[in-house]
C-alpha cells in the first residue's frame, strides 16, 4: 500500500513543478530550461533554513519561496531582453551554474555528499512520519499551490500572459509593459517551484544535487508538453503519466536495470510520437513554435 502512497506523493510534487513551469512556458511562452534549478534552490533553502536556523518546515518553505523568486531575477532581468533562442540558452546556462554551485559549495551544501537527516515536517505538532501521512500532507500543500496558480491563470493577469505570448508587439501597443510582465511571470513560476522543492526535501529527508539536473528540467518540461502546455489540467495529467509510467513498466516485470534504461527510451519515444500526433499535448492549448 505504501507503494501507492509513495507514487501519489511524487505525483503531487511533480504536479506543482509542471504547473509552475507551465505558467512560464505554456502561458507566457517563455521556454525556460532552468526549472529544476529553482526546484533545487527551494529544496536547499528549506533544508538549510530548517537545519541551520532551526525553523519549522512551514516557515522555512515560506521564506524559500520569495528567496527563490528573488534569485530568479538574476537570470530574468538580463536575459528576458534577449531574443527567444538566446533566452532559452541563458536559462540553460543558469541551470548548469546552479547545479555546479550546489555541487561545489561544499561548506554550505556538502556538495556530492548531500544533506542527510532533514527533520520530519510536522503539522500542529503532529509529525508527518508515515508515507500515508505524507501523502495527505503533500496533497494538501500541492492543492494549495495549484489553487493559487488557478486563480492567477483565470485572472486578468493570466489573460495578459497569454496576450503577451500571442503577440508582444500588440500587447505593448496597448500599454502593457511586456518586459515587466514576463519578469513577473518568470519570478512567480520560480517561487512556486520552491514549494515542491520543500515538499521533496521534507519527504526524502535527504537531498543531493543529482535531483536538480538539466535532465530533471527536461523531465518537468516533458510533463508540461505531454500533458498540454497552456492548459491548467495538462501538466497535472502529464506529471501523473510520467511518474506512473516507470511503475507500470515495473509491474510488467521488467528487471530494474533494464527498466531504468527503458524508461529513458520510453520518454524519448513518447515525446516524439506525441509531438507527431498531438503537437499540443494531451489537453493541449498552445503549441511551441
Amino acid at each position: 500500500m505504501n507503494y501507492i502512497w509513495h507514487i501519489l506523493v511524487m505525483i503531487s510534487i511533480y504536479a506543482v513543478l509542471a504547473a509552475s513551469l507551465n505558467l512560464v512556458a505554456g502561458y507566457t511562452g517563455l521556454l525556460s530550461l532552468c526549472h529544476a534549478a529553482f526546484y533545487g534552490i527551494g529544496a536547499y533553502a528549506t533544508t538549510l533554513l530548517m537545519m541551520q536556523m532551526g525553523l519549522g518546515f512551514f516557515p522555512a518553505m515560506a521564506l524559500a519561496v520569495p528567496l527563490t523568486a528573488l534569485l530568479s531575477l538574476l537570470i530574468a532581468i538580463p536575459s528576458l531582453r534577449l531574443r527567444g533562442d538566446y533566452f532559452v540558452l541563458a536559462t540553460l546556462g543558469f541551470q548548469i551554474i546552479v547545479f555546479s554551485l550546489l555541487y561545489n559549495c561544499v561548506r554550505l551544501t556538502r556538495g556530492p555528499y548531500g544533506i542527510p537527516g532533514i527533520p520530519i515536517p510536522s503539522l500542529f505538532g503532529v509529525p508527518v512520519d508515515t508515507v500515508f501521512k505524507y501523502f495527505l500532507f503533500s496533497t494538501t500543500i500541492s492543492t494549495g499551490a495549484l489553487a493559487i496558480l488557478w486563480l492567477l491563470i483565470r485572472s486578468p493577469f493570466g489573460r495578459l500572459l497569454r496576450a503577451v505570448r500571442d503577440d508582444e508587439v500588440a500587447a505593448a501597443a496597448l500599454g502593457k509593459n511586456v518586459p515587466a510582465v514576463k519578469t513577473m511571470a518568470f519570478a512567480l513560476g520560480a517561487g512556486l517551484a520552491a514549494i515542491p522543492g520543500a515538499m521533496f526535501a521534507g519527504y526524502m529527508r535527504y537531498i543531493d544535487p543529482t535531483s536538480f539536473t538539466v535532465g530533471e528540467t527536461i523531465f518537468i518540461l516533458s510533463a508540461v508538453v505531454i500533458g498540454g502546455a497552456g492548459s491548467f489540467w495538462g501538466p497535472l495529467v502529464g506529471s501523473a503519466f510520467l511518474v506512473a509510467l516507470p511503475e507500470a513498466l515495473r509491474l510488467i516485470q521488467i528487471p530494474d536495470a533494464v527498466a531504468a534504461n527503458l524508461r529513458q527510451v520510453t520518454y524519448g519515444l513518447l515525446l516524439v510520437v506525441l509531438m507527431r500526433i498531438r503537437p499540443r499535448g494531451i489537453m493541449g492549448e498552445y503549441e511551441f513554435k
Partner: protein, 258 residues
C-alpha cells in the same frame, strides 16, 4: 481649429541606404481626421512606428501635447494615449474575441498578480463592468455574436474590426490607423467611417493611412500626400486629390491591392 495634439518635426529614419522617412514636418489637431496617402514604400507605416516608439528616429522630434515623446517605448506612448491599429492587424489569436477586448482596457489592477489574488472581489466587479463595455464596442463593429470565438479563427476583415474595437476600448486619445478599411467588407466600411467621425467629434485625433480615395474624401479633414519619405502635398482632401500627380499615384495602386 482645435489645439495641436501631435506634431512631428524634421523626422528622419533610414534603413541602410533607404531614406524611409526623410525630414517630415507634420501636425495634427485634436478633433480632426487626417489621412496620410502615398504610394507603397512612401514611409507611412515607418512614420507610425516612429510616433509610437516602435522605432527610434535618427533625427527630429515627436511632440505629444507639446511634450517630447521620442525615445519612449511603445507601452509608454500607449499609456500617454497614443493608440495604434497595425497594418497586419495583430489580434491575440488564442484569446477569444471578448478577451482580446478585455486586454485592451488600460490600468487594470487585476493585471498585478498580488491584486489578482487578494483583491478578487474588486477585480471581478471591474471585469464585469469591462465586459459590458466590451460587448458594446463589439456590437458597434458587428462582432457581438462572435464574442466567444477564438480571434485566430476570424477572417482578416473581422480581425481588423476586432483590432479596431480593442483600440477603441482602450480609450486612446490619438488613433494611428494603418489601413483600417483594407480587407473590411464594404457594408462595414460605412459603419467604420461613422465611428471614425464620431471619435473626431469627441475631440480625439485620428490619423489614418488610406489607399481608398472615396474613404479619404468621405472622412478626412486634412490630407498629407507622402512620397519617398517627404511631404509632397498637404491640404483639403478635394484639393490634394485633384492634383494630377497624386491621382497618378492612386491609379497606380489600383491593381496592386487585393
Amino acid at each position: 481649429m482645435g489645439e495641436v495634439a501631435l506634431e512631428c518635426r524634421g523626422l528622419r529614419k533610414s534603413f541602410g541606404g533607404v531614406h524611409a522617412v526623410d525630414g517630415l514636418d507634420l501636425s495634427f489637431e485634436s478633433g480632426t481626421v487626417t489621412a496620410l496617402v502615398g504610394p507603397n514604400g512612401a514611409g507611412k507605416t515607418t512614420l507610425f512606428h516612429l510616433i509610437c516608439g516602435a522605432l527610434r528616429c535618427d533625427n527630429g522630434d515627436v511632440l505629444y501635447r507639446g511634450r517630447r515623446i521620442n525615445g519612449l517605448p511603445p507601452w509608454a506612448t500607449a499609456r500617454l494615449g497614443i493608440g495604434r491599429l497595425f497594418q497586419d492587424v495583430r489580434v491575440f489569436g488564442s484569446l477569444t474575441v471578448l478577451e482580446n477586448l478585455l486586454v485592451g482596457f488600460p490600468d487594470q489592477e487585476g493585471e498585478a498578480p498580488l491584486v489578482a489574488l487578494l483583491g478578487r472581489g474588486r477585480v471581478s466587479r471591474r471585469e464585469a463592468d469591462h465586459k459590458v463595455k466590451a460587448l458594446q464596442w463589439l456590437g458597434l463593429v458587428g462582432l457581438a455574436d462572435r464574442s466567444s470565438a477564438l480571434a485566430g479563427s476570424l477572417s482578416f476583415g473581422q480581425q481588423k474590426l476586432l483590432a479596431i474595437a480593442r483600440l477603441l476600448a482602450g480609450g486612446a486619445d490619438v488613433l494611428l490607423l494603418d489601413e483600417p478599411t483594407a480587407g473590411v467588407h464594404p457594408t462595414l466600411v460605412d459603419r467604420l467611417l461613422t465611428v471614425i467621425r464620431r471619435l473626431a467629434g469627441e475631440g480625439r485625433t485620428v490619423i489614418l493611412i488610406e489607399h481608398n480615395t472615396s474613404v479619404v474624401l468621405g472622412v478626412a479633414d486634412w490630407v498629407y500626400f507622402l512620397d519617398e519619405g517627404q511631404v509632397a502635398s498637404f491640404g483639403l482632401p478635394a484639393e490634394v486629390l485633384a492634383d494630377p500627380s497624386v491621382r497618378a499615384a492612386f491609379a497606380g495602386l489600383g491593381g496592386r491591392r487585393q
